[in-house]
């Protein structure tokens, strides 16, 4: 059996990559995908700790996280479509309506 620490390390690496993509990408869809990546990293850590402690609570939390991620993706992609219709661009730097 693979030790838990490897799963946690992989989860940390995934989360770091998600943060990197979140910061560097300019495409709004790619930014959404990096958010999904970070959620997956957290899920992996949850399952690893659940397996380590022998309780099932972690896996139930993973289910909740997946549900919330699905809802967030639905609403977020709707917003993305609206923004793209209004601006004709997927670049986040063009969405500066709130800027003074």
């Amino acid at each position: 059996m693979v030790p838990t620490i490897y799963y946690i390390a992989l989860s940390a690496v995934l989360f770091g990559l998600g943060v990197l993509a979140f910061i560097f990408k300019r495409n709004i869809i790619t930014i959404f995908m990096s958010i999904e990546l970070m959620l997956n990293a957290v899920n992996l850590a949850f399952v690893a700790f659940s397996q380590d402690s022998g309780k099932l609570d972690g896996q139930i939390f993973v289910l909740f996280v997946i549900i919330v991620a699905a809802a967030e993706a639905a609403v977020g992609l709707g917003i993305v479509i609206l923004i793209a219709r209004n601006r004709q661009s997927l670049n986040v730097e063009r969405v500066d309506l709130l800027k003074l």
Binding site: A9, V13, V19, S34, D52, L56, Q59, I60, A70, G78
Partner: protein, 154 residues
């Protein structure tokens, strides 16, 4: 897995979406390896199926081309990469220092406890209230998506 993950840094959104699918499936395999069959199945169905279809559909719908490489603003780029590396290092250091008291329960759970039966029992006994809350959340998300998609018609 990490090799598949580094594909995330692709220029074209379609490519990164496909590599994200690879990452999801690999994670599902890891869950299966850890004895969490139900979570693995849900991961495949919800992520690999629904969410990725949604992403690919939106990408096709919007005809997203190559990502325009705007100056990247070095001022924000350099502290950004530093910050992400520091975050990863911080998590790793915390985990390494935590010295997990493992091998007490490890390897004992797969099989009966970790099965779908245990999860469903816990969800409908201990976690009933959050479970119902998530159903409300899903309902609100559906309503929000409908409103967002409907507004631009008139």
């Amino acid at each position: 897995v990490i090799g598949a993950l580094s594909l995330i840094f692709q220029k074209h959104p379609i490519h990164s979406a496909l590599s994200l699918i690879v990452v999801m499936v690999a994670l599902a395999g890891l869950y299966l390896l850890m004895g969490a069959e139900f979570v693995a199945a849900v991961q495949i169905i919800v992520y690999g199926g629904a969410i990725m279809v949604l992403f690919v559909f939106v990408i096709m719908l919007l005809n997203a081309g190559l990502e325009e490489h705007t100056s990247m603003s070095k001022l924000a780029g350099f502290p950004g990469i530093l910050l992400a590396l520091a975050l990863t290092g911080f998590i790793a250091a915390t985990v390494a220092r935590a010295e997990i008291p493992q091998t007490a329960n490890a390897g004992k759970i797969p099989g009966s406890l970790s099965s779908t039966h245990g999860i469903s029992t816990a969800i409908f006994s201990t976690f009933v209230y959050p479970f119902e809350l998530t159903s409300f959340l899903i309902l609100i998300a559906i309503l929000g998506a409908i409103v967002l998609a409907h507004r631009e018609r008139h």
